[in-house]
Subunit: 200 residues, 2 copies
Amino acid sequence: MVTRHIVAPGGGAGVKLARGEQLRLIDIEGGQTGDLMAFSLDGSERLSNGCSFDYNGKILLSTGDVLWSNRSNPMLTIVADDVGRHDFLYASCSVEMYRMQYGVTGYHANCADNLRAALRELGLEPGTLPTAFNFFMNVDVQPDGRLKILPPRCRKGDSMVLRAEMDLAIAVSACPAGTCNDGPPRSLAFEVGTGTRSGA
Amino acid sequence: MVTRHIVAPGGGAGVKLARGEQLRLIDIEGGQTGDLMAFSLDGSERLSNGCSFDYNGKILLSTGDVLWSNRSNPMLTIVADDVGRHDFLYASCSVEMYRMQYGVTGYHANCADNLRAALRELGLEPGTLPTAFNFFMNVDVQPDGRLKILPPRCRKGDSMVLRAEMDLAIAVSACPAGTCNDGPPRSLAFEVGTGTRSGA
């Protein structure tokens, strides 16, 4: 059985995953990036890019790689990936980021607030968010360390699948930032399934 | 006036900095790396590598670059740097890391515990630590995203100076990990001064 959730353009949504369940993140319109956050159900463990970089020995993660928690436990394993290029460096976009980088004076929808709201709906108080896994976001680290945000490689219908390695609270945001998407903010979808089909 | 603090090999220490004060991190023996953590005094803001990468547009930070908080405020500006190569990707070493990567079965001194203890001594409850600024740690990101830890470039007496852009609680750990130092764990020093001398 597969349950599908739609994430509105610039919006967020959350879901709980039992260990062994699989989460499919889907670019249903094309060129849309998203932020993925994972917490253990008691809130004591959360996604850690620093541990993930260390234990995978690399910053570009794809099929077969594991997203680790701050307590050095596996949270999610990437079991399938149509896109193959994601970012785990950038902080989630925030009201402050839109103010500083886009000159937005009022409120602007943002991934940090989306992730926090989705976690709160699942009963977790997120506190300071760690870096999200910015799926489909395409960032190049140049030899001198400079960062270049490139158009995402995802096309309509592309997806990636992650298997939960512990019971998890998951938050997904469809990023509203103009710089990382290929076009205006669009919707995303995610599906939760038991993963009985190979890679599904 | 300058106050000098010694950080024992594999140990940690903390200090409060008033806005405008300068912190000099010193490799007093040569080849020793360290972890630097910064919190606002009320604990609501903490070092964010994700915001620092975004707002500096790069992952390799040196003179003139700013270490930003999770709330998009400047915490520290690097005003002088003899070494020029630091890491802001790796999670602080932890008991779990020594268990997984070194096969250590009992307790092992580690930067995460050192930073937490130093922050607690300053009256802050750190919760989940963000990624520390791993000063003098030399990490190469290869074109395919693989990480390579290289010997640090710091020599005896080398230092870097950071200016506090807000009132801060600072924690420093002299990293006990064999992989990132050039030799066995050694001590570090840091000095706090008013920065009236140019770059000092």
